[in-house]
Chain length 188, copies 2
């Protein structure tokens, strides 16, 4: 079973798809990233179909153990939200078809996970993604960086959940940190 | 090449899927109809996945020549619109995968096609679908009737477009009607 996480920043014009690997010591490493595009000139089925087919090829070649998708919200432009929801629907279907679990994370959760602030801007997210994964440059465009941020967010949240449930061991530093947190909350 | 039209009324809780056959004389006949449901209790990927898989089975067994989908609008409840867009995205992907053309029709176009009024209510649409297809009862629930209405709307619009382009012949009655329309517009 791979420990690869496929992060998807769904979109009809540009869709980010980033793959990272999570080690047992909460370390994440870069595997692959793509930005799939479709032209507004072609018909809607071809747009959704070509992006989803490209994502399916990534699934087949990388065999991720989980797919993390940015949760769609409707606060922004209605037209772009529809396209985003349609791509996310196609990816949800692909995950089900390939029996891969799906996790949804909100934009705020993703920003908070990689920058420490749920209100971070795109530049900050890109900068931190490059730092965390040890990349020489910030992945471009923002959709590519965002897809990696979604994957990192999922990796860390799921790792922390496993530690809390005792399912994985912790490093000495992590054990010390957990002990400090426990002691601090007792002394409150 | 079949002349079967698969109409889809996309939805996450209930998704209507109706199949009709169009003859060369603008006649439509009933083939099959289903309402696929998913429980809000299960996770989103399983909901989208199970409905889309059921639709894929219909595509494989009936081999429709076109898939007509109700165009998603965002005026109603935001949560239900997201689910509707996600199902429509999965169906768009399936159409692309099986190389079947897609047509989108608005709710107003569908109502106008089967009842003569774009503001008809659900009961009127169901009543007319039963009349047009010669069914003893109105298909239930409304999602089932709506999916057949979408298919009928597409059948008639595409047939009329073919007649206008001279791609199909007309019956004597239709020829007389077209001549009357032409003469009326000349005399205006």
């Amino acid at each position: 079973m791979s420990n690869r996480i496929l992060g998807i920043d769904p979109g009809l014009t540009r869709c980010g798809a980033g793959i990272i690997e999570l080690s047992n010591a909460r370390k994440v490493s870069f595997v692959d990233v793509h930005t799939f595009r479709s032209s507004p000139e072609i018909d809607l089925a071809a747009r959704v179909g070509s992006i989803a087919s490209s994502i399916e090829q990534l699934i087949v070649s990388h065999k991720p153990s989980v797919i993390a998708i940015e949760r769609v919200f409707s606060q922004s432009n209605v037209r772009s939200v529809m396209g985003t929801a349609q791509i996310s629907g196609a990816v949800l279907f692909l995950a089900h078809k390939h029996s891969i679990p799906v996790a949804l994370h909100t934009p705020t959760e993703v920003k908070a996970a990689v920058t420490g602030s749920g209100r971070a801007d795109k530049a900050q997210v890109g900068f931190m993604v490059a730092k965390i994964l040890g990349l020489a440059e910030v992945p471009k465009p923002a959709d590519a960086a965002d897809s990696l941020a979604i994957a990192i967010c999922h990796a860390w949240r799921s790792f922390d959940a496993k530690v809390q449930s005792g399912a994985v061991g912790t490093t000495a530093a992590q054990a010390a940190w957990h002990a400090a947190i426990k002691s601090a909350s007792k002394n409150k």
